[in-house]
Subunit: 200 residues, 2 copies
């Protein structure tokens, strides 16, 4: 089998087991060093069975962030609808991004340390999923300028680079060194400082 939708019930369960096991192993050893044998053992199936669901080790690795990122974006849309200003929505997006990483550190290690900056990502779905992050921020920056919440002369791409880079870098140092020790407490001031940059 390839990566088609499975027809049987057990199969869907198995595929999920593999993804869960893989997330843990990849986060621990990195994609390159991770062994298919370890993933299979952790999922409780035969190595060759993994290939019934995913064509290669990399495809397996890339599947992981796609799902949860989509979930994050959807949840954001839900919660953002209630907020009056673009500034509030932008703050929420950055905060949710950090919270999401804190709540799913294995997933975050895989995404921020291995996949996000990877040279190797050819697969369109992963690329799109990561690029959406930038598109969402740029769109909000444009909207805020348009609504007069901040200066219209602010370059949206440059500013998006600052916002994304800052949050990503905070998460990377947290993932690698657990600094800041309390990520949740540190996120608020970080977002505040970044938002302060938008003031006219």
């Amino acid at each position: 089998m390839s990566t088609q939708e499975p027809k049987q019930q057990r199969s869907r369960q198995r595929k999920n087991d593999v993804l869960t096991a893989a997330t843990r192993v990849f986060a621990r050893d990195g994609i390159a060093k991770a062994k298919m044998a370890d993933i299979a053992k952790e999922a409780g199936i035969a190595v060759s069975s993994i290939y019934d669901y995913f064509p290669t080790k990399e495809a397996l690795a890339y599947e992981i962030p796609i799902q949860r990122l989509a979930q994050l974006y959807a949840e954001f849309e839900d919660r953002a609808a209630a907020l009056p200003t673009t500034r509030d929505r932008l703050s929420l997006f950055l905060t949710m991004t950090a919270d999401h990483a804190r709540a799913n550190p294995d997933w975050a290690r895989l995404l921020y340390l291995e996949i996000w900056p990877s040279v190797l990502i050819q697969e369109a779905r992963v690329r799109r999923s990561v690029d959406d992050f930038g598109r969402i921020i740029v769109a909000m920056l444009r909207e805020g300028s348009h609504r007069g919440e901040w200066s219209a002369s602010l370059d949206p791409h440059r500013t998006a680079t600052i916002l994304m880079g800052s949050i990503a870098h905070m998460l990377i140092t947290w993932l690698l060194y657990r600094r800041p020790a309390d990520l949740e407490a540190a996120t608020g001031p970080m977002v505040e400082q970044l938002m302060g940059m938008l003031e006219v």
Copy 2:
């Protein structure tokens, strides 16, 4: 032989050839996918000879950024000495970082896309070399506060995260997508916007 200083002249030359070839191949294929055979062919030597200079493929990969980063820091110290304000020195450091990447894109791909965020870096020298980047910035931020160039209430670690993250992210998108198209022209405004954040 291990990684000791070579005693013979040809050896030093060869070691350099290997590093140059490896930089190109790693930048093109990524560390995990790069083949020792390709590096050997590009350097014009036998595969097994590479192991006379470097114990493993990763050690070879990690050697590359160490040298040039040290070179960047040294060059910065030189040029910074002439500048009167901390703000000028900080601007220079960020600008030099971007210029250095633009001038050595293969090296930069290896550093920013593969090594910097890597889970796998155990080797102390690489880690130190990368961490120095943060230490240099934090030190300047403290100095600037102390000299009254910006508010003393500015958290140096948080601000360093913003500066490093923003520059790194700008370089990453340039390396992956060649956007902004003219990195040199984009660096100035980026540094300006970041410095604007320091104003009291």
